[in-house]
Amino acid sequence: MAWSFVSPRLIGSLCGLVACSLIGCSSETELPQGAEAWPDRDQRRPGRTVVLGFDGMDPNLAQRWMDAGILPNFKRLAEMGSFQSLQTSNPAQSPVAWSSFATGTNPGAHGLFDFLRRDADTYAPEYAIANVEDSGRKLEMLGLSIPLSNPRTVNRRVGQPFWSSAEAAQLRSSVLRVPVTFPPDDITRMLSGMGVPDLLGTQGTFTIYATQDLAGENARVVKVEPVAGRAETELEGPLHPLYKDPEPLAVPMTIEASESDGVRIDLDGTEVSLSTGDWSDWVPVRYSIAKVVGVRGMVRLHLVQAFPELILYVSPIQLDPRDPVQAISAPPAYAEELVERIGLYHTIGMPEETWSLNEGLISDQAYLDMVGTILAEREAMLFDTLDQNDSELVVVVFVQTDRVSHMFYRGLDPDHPLHDSTGEQARGAIEWIYREADRILGRTMDELAPEDRLIVLSDHGFNSFRRSVNLNRWLVDKGFMTSRPGQPDSESLFTNVDWTRTQAYAIGLNGIYLNLKGRERLGVVRAQQVERLKQEIAQQLLEMVDPDTGEPVVLKVYTAEEVYDGSEIGDAPDLVIGYAEGYRASWQTALGGVPAPLVEDNLRNWSGDHCVEPALVPGVLFTSFPLSTPVRSIADLPQLVQRSFGATRESSNAASP
């Protein structure tokens, strides 16, 4: 056994290496800077500033339900201090807006322009938020391929978040689950939000075990063939980190029909019984690399349908907060301590199973059950931090408002093509999540001391998503993009695009890029053609009408130079599109697809969205104190938070719950 010759210390470092190679590590720490923006210590107001984010909370809905008396705590807060709508970022997307929130800058400076960015060398879409940088240096020996340097996950957001500069100014900060905060910043307390991957390194790969063939766009579907009511299968994990042509590691799983119309599952040694519609507790899984080395994850199981036509959902394999292969919190031990106090919780960046619901794999109820569980975890975290009472600045974001609004807008909007088929319970889902937000707000206000200050905001509002726009098809129709002759339309990734005859292409939810010579690998647009081409496309976009309704599809078109400013502007789309209400780029457009229809009904459960003209979907801003200086946009939030610590009028009127 080769391992017996290896010293424990070496095994230890190898464990670290292996763990890091699975999803990556960051060893970078930020230097204290930006402290001067905060009020001096002796002039600082006593008490805490607490910032609560409710992702996607819409000012119109908030107003409507405050007027109806459904949101008493929001109403109370508005009367105590202020309530206004808050201009979002352009485009109105969460990672973009929360990055502006964190850094106080526009996308041209912080570098996030969309959920997706594109690689100008391959025209392929990439996840814009985090990037794994792997030097690729490997030591190849004995048939193994041992990584010599750790791949590093890097947050693509550029600039310093305000909690880091607060920390530098001796303001202890606790920041929980704010989007685009992975890897965690080195502050008093942080739990990373959107951006934390699963154990496979993806943003959430779930697995469906089924006895029949199911098509799932984003799912791994495993067909099981039970023998005498018992199916033996396995749950595949990450690739073996040390082999040259690695196979995925796997843990065994058996699924057995139980007496009570349910299933009994043995997953990696843990036994779980589920009835139809049930969610399991957390089930730990351990992927063994060598006897003493392994990586730990955890999953939740949900039985959609029992035998004979089994459908079993297994969540993405989440990092186990008690032993994450990569730190997801600051200090790293906080994630584990939190487990001791509140129990296990979802760690992945976006745990809400929107895709499964979108593809109809799980029911509305199962989805809402899951949201309820996650909401309870987040609530527990918030009050755990408030109870610790060791931070002057607390920032916590709840994304569940956004997740529910996306999936259930069909229930709210009578004009949505799916409205009629939406059930009664689903029609009330958005109202339910707003009530929940109100309840959490109320609890928070009760918890705060008179000298504490409270700021509540959302990153954007909401809007119905009735019609999908295939923007690349429009580009083809208008001659800005050319497909190779005689080839079928492509669903994704520009497979049939003749780049040498293509001047512009769309990727992501709001962007159009020019096929620029010298920037794109097969760029054909020369520098002197750029301005005219942008004008031409913009003008024709503004003239675009929905062929079925005659309604304009696009309200505004912005050039990057018009709306962005900063060092990262080179990564921006050349044109940013503000869709009219009810319209959004299709999913295929986001991934570089060129499907045939120009505009089509959105028949997915994902029925609300906000990737439209930003003026249509402002967010909300509530403060427990009156505002002395107007707050124009979400990028003004760091200043507002800074002022809340100062001896200005803003903080003189403390919250008195």
Binding site: G479, T482, R484, P485, G486, Q487, N496, D498, W499, T500, R501, K517, R521, L522, G523, V524, R526
Partner: protein, 815 residues
């Protein structure tokens, strides 16, 4: 003992003296030659080739053509064939499906038990049929040949498709023979790259490429053979061998662009089968816009109609309609579009008629008048040695007319070198300005891939009219250098003599296009052997003393050099006849220049005279053009006249390459060449003397790809030229075989003798090292360029893109 010690001492002294002589000789050489400058120039040469490789991508050609800025000399124009991807395609619903079974002229599927189809000719290869495959254990020297005689009209064949997998080897060979000439099977061969990775690959061979010799268009193919590997014991499984008919090809691609031969003239065409419609949305230029095109059809006896209409606003006008399409002549048409000047209109092409015919619409283009007259005529005389021209100081007056012309207005490059010793690699190299090792055309079975951008393609895309008149097939479609020519004619339609190529056909083409900017490539086969000048140009031979004309024995290559009437001509007799051919060319070209002058074209036309290689005329006992690439076989004329820019005649000593012609032409034609992959340099700054240091430091190259192996060849064969030195090395120093075993290289003063090495062999180590290193680095960089551009596909094996594959799979072509 003392005796022995003194012996040792003496030997020691001898060794020391020897070493000292070596050192001294090196120092002397170092003083004679600027070795530092040589090393730097060689490094610059290699770096540039590496840079070209770095920039080479499969989409190179499309990308450059898409981004080439418009030419300032040429008015707006629109080529319908080049812009086919932008057209809307429609099909009339009446279109029938193609005839069942008409797709193959011949096929072997090996699926039926009884049929074998192919047998091992010599019985040494083991051939067995199993699981629908023909399993062959190849024996080197043996080949598979069809069991029963075939009877395939060559004119009907479009492609040959072979699907096979092999475990060993890197080449396979196809042979064929015409009915009645079966004995020639051995001579008609095409070598193809074999991908022996154990997986099935489909090899598609264009018939026009394959059957370039041994069979005429109106003949029938009777034998078809395959040597499936070049390695003894290779195991090859053949899935099928299919010969696809031309008509079926058009049924697969109902509308497309191709090069088609009608009445001996190849043209670039838009081909459409009946019931197809094409619609272009275009802006008609201002000025005097016109639409010009030629028309013909695949079959003569099946009616087909072409109609062209223009829609502006709600009004549609039919501007052309005809059923008069011939299968043996192109008919040209020019239509005035003045009515639509300045408007955006729809131009529609519609073809109707019976199922199996195909309409060819050649070079359809819409344009207004040229902005400024500027033409290029590139005249190549095959096999012309520069030192046999009186213009370059030869003692016989071989080209008096050219001497006069050049003295008046010409730029004469006294030391131009060709990049290869044969037409086949030399022409694609000249036409792309890339060294032969980068073009992939090394030998007779190679042709230039479509992925390359030729001089003609660039000029055509800039709006030039382009035509090629050639008397050597190696400068045409077989070598892939048809690319970019709107019209091509070869010896079969223009004739074999120099008078033919500079005759009526070319003058009428010029008259037809004199109001356009044009690029004309004229390739005369003479003075290529046989040396047989017509009277009176044989007078040097006739006037010579009879006893000097007859040799004692037949000289080598008599069959291809000596005219049938001459018996055992002496070496001197051969030279007199060769010179006579040069003199003959000169007088014909003189007449041609006068014709240009009488049309007022001389001032606005860049005339370039060049040759593809020289000729051995008995030096070292060598004849014809072949490696080693020493001075006689690579020193070629390069002369230019373009009074609009070069108003002072001059004679230039620096070593230049024939691949420098293309960048020179592009610069004078005001073409933006910044994105082009070229190894040559524009000679304009050499001519005007503006960058003397750059030209002094430049190292130029001549290669010998014909004797090199494509992969892992240790031979860095060829020459570097630096200042006045030629550093040459070759595997072939034949017939000096005994010498070549020891010495494969030499350093020569190319301006003097060019044949006698001026540096003795031993101290030659350093220059020899530089030459070998440079040429082998250059070859690797160039191989990479070829790999990147063609994605490793041997030129005449067309890699099919997935969609085509899908289409073909649907039709049962591929599986």
């Amino acid at each position: 003992m003392p005796r022995r010690r003194s012996l040792i001492r003496r030997v020691g002294w001898i060794l020391i003296a020897f070493a000292a002589v070596l050192v001294v000789l090196h120092v002397v050489n170092a003083l004679r030659m600027d070795t530092g400058g040589l090393r730097e120039g060689a490094r610059a040469l290699v770096n540039r080739a590496v840079d070209v490789g770095d920039r080479a991508i499969p989409e190179y050609e499309d990308l450059v053509l898409a981004t080439l800025p418009p030419n300032p000399n040429i008015g707006p124009f629109y080529r319908f064939d080049d812009n086919l991807p932008e057209a809307e395609l429609a099909e009339e619903p009446s279109a029938g499906s193609p005839d069942e079974g008409g797709e193959f002229e011949f096929r072997l599927e090996f699926d039926v038990e009884a049929e074998t189809g192919l047998v091992a000719e010599k019985g040494r290869s083991v051939v067995e049929k199993r699981d629908g495959l023909l399993a062959v254990t190849h024996s080197d020297g043996d080949y598979l040949v069809n069991e029963k005689p075939l009877n395939i009209p060559l004119a009907n064949i479009s492609d040959i498709i072979v699907r096979a997998r092999a475990d060993k080897g890197n080449r396979f060979q196809l042979n064929w023979a015409a009915a009645g000439r079966e004995a020639e099977l051995k001579d008609n061969r095409l070598s193809l790259d074999l991908i022996a990775d154990g997986d099935f690959h489909t090899y598609v061979v264009n018939a026009q490429n394959a059957f370039q010799r041994g069979v005429e268009l109106d003949e029938f193919i009777s034998l078809l053979s395959i040597a499936p590997s070049n390695v003894d014991g290779a195991f090859v499984e053949i899935d099928f061998v299919r010969v696809v008919s031309k008509q079926w090809k058009y049924q697969v691609q109902k509308v497309g662009t191709s090069y088609e031969t009608v009445g001996g003239e190849v043209r670039r065409v838009l081909h459409m089968i009946p019931d197809q419609r094409l619609e272009y949305s275009v802006s008609v230029p201002d000025g005097d816009p016109e639409l010009s095109f030629g028309r013909a059809s695949l079959l003569g006896n099946v009616p087909v109609e072409v109609a062209i209409s223009i829609q502006a606003g709600d009004e549609t006008a039919t501007i052309f309609r005809s059923t008069d399409l011939d299968a043996d002549t192109w008919q040209d048409e020019v239509i005035d579009l003045g009515n639509w000047a300045g408007q955006t209109v729809s131009v529609r092409f519609a073809v109707d008629g019976a199922g199996e015919n195909v309409a060819f619409i050649s070079n359809p283009v819409m344009r207004s008048a040229s902005k400024r007259p500027f033409n290029v005529i590139l005249i190549l005389e095959d096999t012309l040695r520069a030192d046999h021209l009186s213009t370059q100081g030869y003692n016989r007056e071989t080209d008096p007319a050219r001497t006069r012309f050049m003295n008046e207005r010409g730029i004469v490059f006294l030391n131009a070198h060709s990049q290869a010793t044969k037409t086949r690699p030399s022409i694609p190299s000249m036409m792309t300005s890339l060294y032969p090792t980068a073009t992939g055309v090394w030998n007779f079975s190679d042709s230039l891939s479509d992925r390359y951008l030729t001089l003609a393609e660039i000029l055509r895309a800039q709006g030039f009219e382009t035509a090629s008149f050639i008397q050597n097939g190696n400068a045409g479609p077989y070598a892939g250098v048809h690319q970019g020519f709107s019209s091509l004619r070869d010896a079969s339609s223009i004739g074999e003599t120099t008078e033919d190529i500079f005759g009526e056909q070319i003058l009428s083409w010029i008259d037809q296009n004199s109001n356009r900017n044009f690029f004309l490539y004229l390739h005369a086969v003479d003075p290529h052997g046989p040396y047989d000048p017509p009277p009176p140009y044989d007078r040097w031979y006739r006037d010579a003393p009879a006893d000097t004309l007859v040799g004692e024995r037949t000289l080598p290559q008599a069959g291809s050099i000596d005219p049938p009437w001459a018996e055992t001509p002496s070496a001197e007799a051969r030279r007199l006849l060769y010179d006579g051919e040069i003199r003959h060319n000169d007088s014909v070209i003189d007449t041609f220049i006068q014709e240009l002058d009488s049309r007022g074209l001389l001032d606005s036309t860049l005339l370039v005279f060049v040759s593809d290689h020289g000729e051995w005329l008995g030096e070292s006992g060598l004849w014809e053009h072949r490696p080693p690439g020493k001075r006689p076989v690579i020193h070629v004329p390069l002369m230019m006249s373009y009074p609009a820019v070069f108003d002072v005649p001059s004679r230039i000593q620096e070593s230049v390459q024939i691949i420098d012609a293309m960048p020179t032409i592009l610069e004078l034609a005001a073409v933006d060449d910044s994105d082009l992959l070229m190894h040559g340099d524009s000679l304009v700054s050499l001519i005007d003397g503006s960058e003397p240091d750059r030209w002094r430091a430049r190292v130029t190259v001549s290669e010998e790809p014909m004797i090199m192996k494509r992969y892992e060849d240790p031979c860095a064969c060829g020459s570097l030229f630096f200042e006045t030195w030629q550093l040459h090395g070759s595997e072939w120093n034949w017939p000096m075989r005994f010498k070549s075993a020891f010495v494969k290289s030499g350093v020569y003063r190319f301006r003097e003798d060019g044949l006698k090495p001026v540096v003795s062999y031993l101290p030659d180590l350093y220059t020899r090292y530089i030459r070998q290193k440079t040429l082998s680095d250059l070859t690797s960089a160039n191989m990479r360029t070829w790999q990147m551009l063609t994605e490793g596909q041997q030129q005449n094996v067309y890699k099919m893109d997935p969609a085509t594959l899908e289409e073909l799979r649907g039709l049962g072509y591929v599986n």
